[in-house]
Amino acid sequence: MVPLTKGKTNLREIREKEKIDISTEAAVEIRNLDVYYGKERAIKNVSLDILKKKVTSLIGPSGCGKSTLLRSINRMNDLVDGARVEGTIAVDDRDIYSKDVQVSKLRQKVGQVFQKPNPFPKSVYDNIAFGPRAYRHHLRKEKGVFSSFKGIFRREERSPIDGRPMDQVVRDSLEQAALLDEIEEKLHESAIDLSGGQQQRLCIARCLATKPEIILMDEPTSSLDPISAGRIEDLIEELSQEYTVLIVTHNMQQAARISDRTALLWLGELIEMGKTEALFEKPEKEMTEKYITGRVG
């Protein structure tokens, strides 16, 4: 796979130089992160690690900066007017805010599932093939113009990411998202007509089709009914065997059910982070206990 950046900032070197102790399995390392919207400081000096192939959940009252933190990991915050980021975030030991990062490549690698299911007004098939097709574009930049024309006369469309047939990619992604059985007949019908839960799983499948390493989920079940939400939760647990999942939720039961590690944010500050059982059963900080027992927030 093509490396994420050609950048020189290697966080591991910095870490060694500054003698910060860190587990080597981190998929995302966040150091001294500050995010500003205009003059307002939404994230205050947060440092945390997100471990590989684990489900990490971010909890906290609304407006505490959970979604901001999530969005700054795939640089979707760049799209917000007046947003400014200080500090470092490293994915695969590369600083994603260094100048030579290709943002779209980063986003292909760090997928995101949104709060409200947002399938494109296209067919189910085209929705899932969207990410791989958009990747063809990167090939042009990296391997020259002609690589992007390679195979346009082939009858069968192939995914530029891993060269598998597109039909295969679509079916695999749908199967991974536990959706194939339900909509196998409707592959070429509009995705808008699916039910809410199906749409959200379609969005997850769409994200999986780009072969991400990390999946960010921003309250993926909050606009769904309990049954659909339950299916998404099951799905997340399955996904964690292959992918690193970071999920924002304000539902503490959900965090307790599905996540391996949990972080509590409060007014933009990281209060506590640890194994989920530990955090919920014997929290270290008083604030955490108050929040979990519902006395604040």
Partner: protein
């Protein structure tokens, strides 16, 4: 009772008294006015019966009609509508009046409206115009009546009635224009009229070159204007970060839109004609019409692209698509129906423009532009650099030459032109309503 409460109750009593006095006063004034006017009417009609030339018939018939309607409405207003009635009655009333004027106009074209009490013939034109005034007059009359009849909901009714009539009048005029043109024009419309050119030797008339000319003008204008307009809209909505760029383009598009069409014509005359062959050409006409279509395209496309929800953009960007890919594959496909609608409405508008092309593109009785041929090279650009005929210009040139002999040709041309415009509008509006109903967000 506290002093504050007293105060309130006092003012409200005074208020009530004042209100009712005002209401009574107005009612009495109105009654007096009606009585006087009715007497005047009676006197005038008696005098005319004795002495026919007392006043010209025209004045009497108008006055009489005004008074009849006024009295009738007064009675209706007092007897029926004093209690609360649904405003539908007003609407029906005004609709009836408008329909009545239309019917009189259309079905008594020779005899006019004959009111037995009034002597003299009322021409159809006169009948229409007087009925037009009657409707306006009656509107104001009942409006004022209801406004002064004090309860607030009456005022509400009056306003509703007034606003309804002011929608109904222009729409009545529109309907009348279309129906009248169709009635006058349909007798001329034959297949030959549409599909052949005029043959002055044999006295045959046909507007085929004008139809083809209009189509080539608007197709050319669309080809020039749509890429520029849609491109500008994309740049403004997706790329331009600073507000002043948007403001600047908005202001220029506004100014371009409200620039008079004759000014576009002058501009083409001094700028394009010397640069393209030196005489009137189809190409010059296309470019000038494109300049007129451009601001409309920018405005509608900007609106259409802004309406695409941000979730689509974010969804695409989060999958690793580049910005341009997102625009091309997500934003544009979602906004195409609205853009098409806007362009169709704009094309409907420029299809009938005469002033700009009059100086730079058209000449009457030219041949239809012929871009294609059966022998090589099959496709010619020659017609781009020669004059064409166009429907609106054909109508204008008939007017200029004197309508007398070719009035039927003129009506036929007008009807084809209106049909063309209606076609574009109908197409645009139905696309819009179809996609509004069926789009997924």
């Amino acid at each position: 009772m506290s002093p504050v409460d007293e105060n309130i109750s006092e003012t409200s009593v005074v208020d009530k008294l004042f209100v009712s006095v005002e209401g009574k006063l107005m009612r009495r004034l109105m009654l007096a006015l009606w009585l006087v006017m009715g007497m005047v009417f009676l006197a005038i009609s008696t005098l005319t019966a004795i002495w026919p030339n007392f006043l010209s018939n025209v004045v009497i018939s108008t006055l009489g009609a005004f008074l009849l309607v006024a009295v009738g409405l007064t009675i209706v207003a007092f007897k029926l509508l004093k209690e609360y009635q649904p405003p539908m009655i007003h609407f029906l009333l005004s609709l009836f009046l408008i329909a009545f004027s239309g019917v009189v106009f259309l079905f008594f074209p020779n005899h006019g409206l004959e009111i037995p009490a009034l002597e003299g013939d009322v021409t159809p034109q006169l009948a229409t115009i007087s009925l037009f005034f009657i409707v306006t007059f009656a509107t104001v009359w009942t409006g004022l009546l209801f406004y002064w009849e004090n309860p607030a909901h009456n005022r509400q009714l009056a306003v509703q009635y007034f606003t309804w009539v002011s929608v109904a009048i222009p729409l009545g005029v529109l309907t009348f224009f279309i129906v009248y043109t169709i009635m006058e024009g349909s007798s001329v419309i034959t297949w030959d009229f549409i599909s052949s050119a005029s043959d002055l030797m044999r006295g045959e008339i046909g507007i085929f070159p004008a139809i083809m000319g209009t189509f080539s003008l608007i197709i050319g204008a669309t080809v020039f204007a749509v890429p520029l307009g849609v491109g500008a809209a994309i740049f403004l909505t997706e790329y331009a970060k600073r507000g002043w760029i948007k403001q600047a383009v908005g202001v220029t598009a506004d100014c371009l839109w409200s620039t008079p069409s004759i000014v576009f014509g002058l501009f083409g005359y001094v700028f394009l004609v010397p640069r393209i062959t030196g005489h009137s050409t189809l190409l010059a006409g296309q470019i000038i019409l494109a300049a007129m279509l451009l601001p409309l395209t920018i405005a509608t496309s900007t609106e259409a692209i802004t309406a695409v929800p941000d979730e689509f953009r974010n969804g695409s960007l989060a999958l690793g698509a580049s910005k341009w890919w997102t625009i091309r594959r997500v934003v544009l496909p979602s906004s195409v129906p609205s853009i098409v609608t806007g362009v169709l409405l704009g094309v409907g508008r420029i299809a009938g423009e005469t002033a700009p092309i009059m100086l730079i593109a058209v000449a009457s009785h030219t041949n239809a532009p012929n871009f294609f041929s059966l022998s090589p090279p099959y496709f010619h650009l020659g017609p781009l650099f020669s004059e064409v005929d166009a429907l609106p210009y054909r109508l204008y040139s008939i007017y200029k030459a004197g309508v007398g002999g070719s009035i039927h040709e003129a009506w036929g041309t007008a009807m084809v032109l209106i049909a063309l415009v209606l076609m574009f509008y109908g197409l645009g509006i139905s696309i819009r309503s179809y996609y509004r109903r069926n789009r997924g967000w």
